[in-house]
Symmetry: C2
Subunit: 306 residues, 2 copies
């Protein structure tokens, strides 16, 4: 952005030659009160937008398909020239210059997975490991050089193989002694909590994952083995069992039977995917889970959740 009220026309005149030198054809729109949009079109299919706002914001967007732009070098050279020309024009009096990395669209590998709060984040994804639609959601496992395999449910980044810290935190940050204990896990389809607790010699761990999680389990047991080890290979082990059932009827049954636990770990997704009509809102559902969990918790038992 410029430091002074910009002379839009002067900016346009100064930058035009840079694009014309590239053999680009110019189309200019003049809004009068909203500045200019100049579109520069190259024969090979690439193009540029130069948007000049009257209060001094100048935006340059380059768009090209594959190697139409001979890669970063050509782009950098062009942007260097724009920057130089602007600095000359305003005698270096420019508030901020910023270049953003190119955004890659339409490729086989999608590297952009926005956060839950809507921020754009590009991951170093280099492989699509698993990509399936269940009746409930899309399940992707993508490989990142930095994080290992990453589980993504309907576009929401869930857990990466590097996220042991998440699992440790929901288990009480290493401060709990699970030896000989009765543990109930709600959700946890990636198997991370189950795997970590089983290592600690509990009496019995029961994990209740609904049929919504079946394909998550299928994907994770194959491709998230740093997270779940071999615990998802079978639904039963020496000191654990996995029930593929809705957790609410299971909790009700346990409460009725007087079956009690030392730990209940709620690892259900923050915004539940519900198939049953019983719960009419997210908060009702969360309250129900919490109430039922308290009923199956021993006097000195502990409840952990996100």
């Amino acid at each position: 952005s410029l430091n002074l009220a910009a002379d839009c026309n002067a900016v346009l005149k100064a930058l035009q030659p840079i694009f014309q030198e590239q053999g680009m054809t110019e189309t200019v729109h003049n809004w009068e009160d909203h500045g200019y949009l100049a579109t520069y079109i190259k024969k090979n299919g690439s193009f540029a937008n130069l948007r000049i706002h009257p209060h001094g914001l100048v935006l340059v967007d380059l768009q090209s398909y594959n190697d139409q732009m001979k890669g970063r070098e050509e782009v950098d050279q062009l942007l260097n020239k724009v920057e130089e020309r602007m600095k000359e024009l305003f005698h270096g009096n420019i508030k901020r210059v910023k270049r953003l990395p190119a955004i890659l669209r339409g490729g086989v590998i999608d590297r952009y997975w926005p956060t839950a709060d809507g921020r754009l984040v590009e991951y170093d994804i280099d492989e699509v490991v698993y990509d399936e639609d269940s009746p409930f959601q899309n399940i992707k496992i993508l490989h990142s050089k930095q994080f290992g395999n990453i589980l993504i449910l309907s576009g929401d980044v869930n857990l990466a193989e590097s996220d042991l810290a998440y699992t440790q935190a929901i288990m009480g940050s290493g401060k709990e002694d699970y030896t000989g204990k009765e543990v109930l896990i709600l959700g946890g389809g990636d198997g991370g909590i189950l795997y970590e607790i089983v290592k600690l010699k509990p009496k019995m761990v029961t994990m209740v994952a609904s049929n919504i999680d079946q394909m998550v389990i299928d994907g994770c047991k194959k491709y998230m083995r740093k997270t779940c080890g071999d615990v998802l290979d079978n639904l039963k082990g020496e000191c654990y069992q996995v029930l593929i059932e809705d957790c609410i009827p299971v909790l009700k049954r346990y409460a009725k039977e007087g079956r009690m636990f030392d730990y209940v770990i709620n690892d259900l997704t923050a915004v539940p995917i519900s198939t049953s009509p019983e719960e009419d809102s997210t908060w009702e559902f969360l309250r129900l889970i919490l109430d039922l969990s308290m009923k199956v918790l021993k006097q000195d038992g502990k409840y952990f959740t996100q």
Copy 2:
């Protein structure tokens, strides 16, 4: 992207009305062999690009200044229509639909801080806490809701207040006993390592930060107090001292004097900013630091670095 070889003209004809309904003026460029670029311009200064590639990639970009687009709703409605029209045209036979969050440019707060490997990452920055140019680099401290204050040196994200894990890792992940020990820290201008070691009752910690770091120290001691506590308030404490000197002459002096350490922790930036002509390359510099560090390390001493 579409599943079949797209009829570019059919896509253009199908989507045109959506933009025209918005009162946008159309300009179409037909490359023949590279598809279409349609530009739609609105009276209020906003505009859209519709790029149709012959092999089936269709890109829609909307650009507007401030609330020219009445926010996300209007954008979402327009994109919903594009998606619907495309699904109708290709009978749902579309490989992938992806919308990216809006990229905000020219604002007071810059939320985009690409990673060292060039990936685009948007942070939840809500405040510019510190922004100064030293003769060596730009020093910014920005507040993120998620990470606390973040130190950014010439655009490179260095350390956030939430990054205690980094400091703990470079100190040996809690497995070292610093009680009564002699420690030398190279760099570490944010004060994180110094603060954490001083808590562990060492005999003496010497931190050597060059004058390049002076303004980093100034910023951190004010605004990164979760990282450095009060250790940077004074250059000397009961069991520590901070030397503002180039570390190479200091290391040479210590080596000559026979001054030895139990720990040397090298927290210099990965790519050094050098003012002295002695080192002619990054690798030479790193080798020199390592050689000198070995000379001041006791027989059973330990050297930690990134």
